[in-house]
């Protein structure tokens, strides 16, 4: 560990969900076929104009509210001007004058401790096209051009790689809970820029800030931060801290190090100005109120509730709130009348085990809380044992048939008094010698009779009832 204190700020870009792109009517969906989800404006054909997608604004506002930010009175969009082949218009539509949110915070839990991360701003913009470079050619895929992108900028208030990654995970969870993004790093939906500096433990002034651009995985963020802390600390130890320059670097995942791109002195002037094609409009207070109503209970809030109200353990509650669909499944179980601890046990062991093994989502999982209840009810009634319950569970998801189909046939215990009495009478008649011995005081023969009944019924006889009838008959 470094003896210096690291100061870290994050810029987190996340692609948002929507039917069409943020300023175009083209589809916003992951598409393997290049240049399939495109409209004229995505390729900046002359005369095409951006038209803002209301859903994207709404989602961005929702995040602004969730992050306790101040929302602007008017919605503006600005142009960020620069030439690059992935930017067909020659400018990116973003928010500079009035971001959708400013000066907020989010609470996260890192190593069991709660911490507030302060948000500088959150804004809505459009993604650029993606480029593929080959030996002597480059290909441009405009599918991604115009996809809604929400950029979140934190204050420099994080101090370790672990905090940074926890923050990113917290944000990913929030995005997924609010259903505004799939937030899938594997699809390149989350990309980060990391700002890192180091300083003496008690110093007041920040050190020289280095920006690491385009880190595309949480692991990458962790490694890049640790690499930079080490690099800067070593220079500082060696009395060469002046060599740490205010610069932009990039993270080379394969080499596992950051590589210098350019000095901040050569920073690009993006010549921001308000886009005249997107007239400013007032954000109605009533609209904000409506959006507020739609914000679901988030992971941390649910976790606290599960612990305090349902008596779940910290660990179990943590597992269940990891994904919104787990939490919703759990809550649906309670709604259909399964008790919390039973629901929690089934969910965290059998069910999560199954969906992880099959690599499916809980939505795709056959056994809904309602169907699960069929099994649990039978256990309660005593008609099936817990071992049998597991068998029913697997059969049901295997054959995609309701659990009760397997319970009503050959799995059910024989609990019918008349049927059992008949079987037992037959057995006692066939074992007259043993009956006599028992009556003479050989008590341990009782288990022998039970065993015979079980053998005869292939284990399906209700054990409690069997014992009752046996006792009655043998003692009469």
């Amino acid at each position: 560990m470094s003896k210096y204190k690291a100061v870290i700020g994050l810029e987190m870009h996340c692609e948002f969900k929507s039917n069409s792109k943020v300023f175009s009517s083209a589809k916003n969906s992951y598409n393997e076929i290049p240049n399939d989800n495109i409209a004229g404006v995505d390729m900046a054909f002359p005369g095409t104009l951006p038209v803002v997608n209301e859903k994207c604004i709404k989602d961005a506002l929702m995040m602004s509210i969730v992050l306790h930010c101040k929302q602007p009175e008017f919605m503006y969009f600005d142009r960020k001007n620069y030439y690059y082949p992935d930017l067909p218009k020659g400018y990116q539509i973003t928010q500079m004058t009035e971001p959708v949110g400013r000066d907020g915070y989010v609470e996260m839990e890192c190593n069991g401790e709660k911490k507030k991360v302060f948000i500088h701003d959150i804004h809505l913009e459009e993604d650029a096209a993606s480029l593929d470079h080959y030996y002597d050619t480059s290909c441009i895929d405009y599918n991604r051009a115009g996809v809604p992108l929400v950029e979140l900028v934190t204050e420099p208030c994080l101090h370790t790689a672990e905090e940074a990654v926890t923050f990113l995970e917290t944000m990913r969870s929030i995005y997924k809970y609010c259903d505004v993004s799939e937030a899938d790093t594997k699809k390149g939906q989350i990309r980060c820029d990391v700002n890192i500096s180091i300083m003496d433990e008690n110093a007041i002034e920040f050190g020289t800030r280095v920006e690491v651009k385009n880190v595309n995985s949480f692991g990458g963020v962790r490694d890049a931060i640790n690499y930079e802390i080490k690099r800067q600390s070593e220079l500082k130890d060696a009395g060469r801290y002046h060599e740490v320059e205010q610069e932009t670097r990039r993270w080379d995942e394969e080499a596992g190090k950051t590589i210098r791109m350019r000095s901040k002195v050569d920073a690009i002037d993006y010549k921001y100005f308000v886009d005249p094609n997107l007239p400013k409009f007032k954000i109605a207070a009533s609209w904000l109120e409506e959006i507020k109503q739609e914000i679901p209970l988030l992971a941390l809030e649910r976790k606290e509730k599960y612990i305090s109200e349902y008596g779940l353990s910290e660990y179990d509650a943590g597992v269940i709130v990891k994904e919104r669909e787990y939490a919703e499944y759990f809550e649906e179980c309670l709604k259909v009348g399964i008790d919390a601890k039973t629901a929690c046990n089934w969910l965290t062991t059998q069910i999560l085990g199954q969906i992880n093994e099959k690599e499916i989502t809980l939505k795709e999982f056959y056994l809904t809380p309602n169907l699960l209840k069929q099994i649990i009810d039978e256990i309660k009634k005593g008609t099936i044992s817990s071992k049998q319950a597991k068998e029913v569970f697997y059969k049901s998801i295997e054959e995609k048939k309701e659990p009760k189909t397997f319970i009503s046939n050959d799995m059910t215990q024989i609990s019918d008094q008349v049927v059992l009495e008949e079987i037992i009478t037959t057995i006692l008649n066939e074992n007259k010698n043993q009956v006599q011995e028992y009556k003479n005081g050989k008590d341990n023969l009782f288990d022998y009779f039970v065993g015979q009944v079980m053998k005869n019924t292939r284990g399906k006889a209700n054990p409690v009832l069997t014992k009752e009838i046996l006792k009655e008959k043998l003692e009469s």
């Binding site: 004229g40 002359p46 005369g47 001007n81 082949p85 002037d269 005249p276 094609n277």
Partner: protein, 484 residues
């Protein structure tokens, strides 16, 4: 084709002429006019007649400025950067006209991307004035003004960012109408300065202008700055009743005493304007002279340069030759873009891009762009204030008739810069503004302009119509003067 839209419609419905004959005549005239004045980028030989319906525009040919996107038809913006560009979609305004059976017969030359006021900077060469081919048409809607004045068809589409419809209309002796900003969708119009760009029309009569814009306007979900004007009926609302309407003109622009060493042309132009003021009064309108701070007026041209150049440099950043337009050459993509833009743009545009980039630089924005926006606001507020008292503002257009293509032949008066450029206020405020011919100086047409408050297009057109009806210049066709 020297008739008004109403007359042509009448002839078509009574079968005195067919749509086919009109198209043939318009095409024939197009070739003649192109040969003489170089007004067109493309002549659409394939143009076909359409069935005549109740719509006044059905079956009648028209022209489209070449900065409107036209599906499957070359659309160049009169620029080498798009010299081979064939769009896959129609501008909304064009689409609307096609839907009612209007027939495009040519694409007209403009100053490259509308950036210019001379009609001399298009990639196909200089457009000449049909009244005098040694003079300019002004621009940027040069070819459209030339063709309408020469009688190729009754109307042609234009676009107006500073005065690009209204100035060439004046120089060519016809009507040029720029509606309120956003009344006609800009979708498919190649952008110059998005906060100022307005689609409009050049015609030979006020009623024709009303008919055409009635058919072009409307809320468009593809243009967020468009608005619903379904309650506005320009053509129907024209009744010529202008009694007790209040007009004003600006002393600083209209008084000859305000100019040092005025030319004869300027004297005659302003004298003629004064006569037209009297005509207004004769028609029952009240006209007052008002005064505006000269300093504010003097700021006008620089405000226009700052805002229009800043927006233009950003708007035209899509012209890289990568997706459309001729590919540039180079070792890498940056070199290819540079090559395309270096070869493609005329020096005038490059100069404006440099100004625009300079103004947009972080360290210059406050001083140039923000200040320009503040003065724009001040000017617009001043005008809006006037509209509280007056129905419209009436002013002369330019300092006289069309200027010579050879600039050395023009005698110039000092201090006419604001008089030449005051129409830009119409774009700053998005005001409806119309230019109509109001007389002749040495056999060349001159014009006046009427500008009203936003959304008050009906009123502006009605005043223009009343004045037009009281003057003998309605539907005039250019008569070329001889230099022998």
């Amino acid at each position: 084709m020297d008739k008004t839209i109403e007359e042509l419609h009448e002839l078509l419905t009574n079968n005195f002429v067919t749509s086919k004959e009109l198209v043939e005549e318009a095409l024939k005239k197009s070739y003649e006019v192109n040969k003489k004045y170089n007004a067109f980028v493309t002549i659409l030989d394939e143009a076909k007649e359409t069935p005549v319906s109740e719509n006044l525009l059905s079956g009648i040919p028209f022209g489209i400025k070449d900065n409107y996107s036209t599906k499957d038809i070359l659309s160049t913006g009169s620029s080498n950067t798009l010299k081979n560009y064939v769009p896959f979609f129609n501008a909304t305004a064009v689409e609307k006209l096609l839907n009612v059976g209007a027939i495009p017969v040519n694409k007209t030359v403009l100053d490259e991307f509308g950036m210019g006021g001379t009609g001399t900077t298009g990639h196909t060469g200089v457009v000449k004035n049909p009244w005098d081919s040694t003079r300019m048409t002004a621009g940027s809607s040069a070819g459209s003004a030339c063709a309408v004045a020469a009688g190729v068809y009754p109307y042609a589409l234009g676009s107006d960012t500073g005065d690009s419809i209204r100035k060439p209309a004046a120089y060519c002796g016809i009507v040029g109408y720029k509606p309120t900003y956003g009344m006609v969708s800009r979708f498919g119009l190649f952008p110059f300065a998005s906060s100022l760009d307005t689609c409009g029309v050049l015609t030979r009569s006020v009623k024709d202008a009303a008919i055409v814009i009635d058919n072009m306007k409307g809320l468009d979900k593809l243009d967020m700055t468009s608005w619903d004007s379904s309650h506005i009926h320009l053509y129907q609302s024209i009744d010529g009743k202008v009694e007790n309407k209040k007009l004003c003109y600006i002393k600083e622009l209209c008084s000859i005493e305000n100019y040092e060493n005025p030319t004869e042309e300027l004297k005659m132009h302003l004298e003629n304007f004064k006569e037209k003021i009297k005509l207004c009064e004769k028609l029952g309108m009240k006209v007052e002279e008002i005064s505006i701070d000269q300093k504010l007026l003097d700021a006008l041209p620089s405000v226009y340069v700052a805002i229009s150049c800043a927006e233009a440099t950003s708007n035209m950043s899509n012209l890289t030759g990568i997706i459309f337009g001729p590919r540039g050459e180079g070792k890498n993509v940056t070199e290819m873009m540079m090559d395309h833009r270096t070869k493609g743009f005329s020096p005038l545009i490059k100069r404006r891009f440099v100004i625009g980039s300079y103004i947009l630089q972080k360290e210059n924005q406050e001083r140039y762009l923000k200040n320009a926006q503040r003065v724009r606001r001040l000017l617009v507020d001043t005008w809006k204030n006037l509209f509280k008292t007056y129905d419209a503002i009436i002013l002369p257009v330019g300092s006289g008739p069309a200027k010579h293509l050879d600039a050395s032949k023009d005698l110039l008066t000092k201090d006419t810069k604001v008089l030449e450029e005051h129409l830009q206020i119409g774009n700053f405020g998005g005001f409806p503004s119309i230019t109509i011919p109001d007389g002749f100086i040495n056999d060349l047409p001159v014009a006046l302009n009427i500008t009203g408050n936003c959304y008050d297009d009906e009123n502006v057109l009605n005043i223009a119509y009343a004045l037009e009806s009281a003057m003998p210049y309605k539907n005039q066709i250019a008569k070329e003067i001889s230099h022998e």
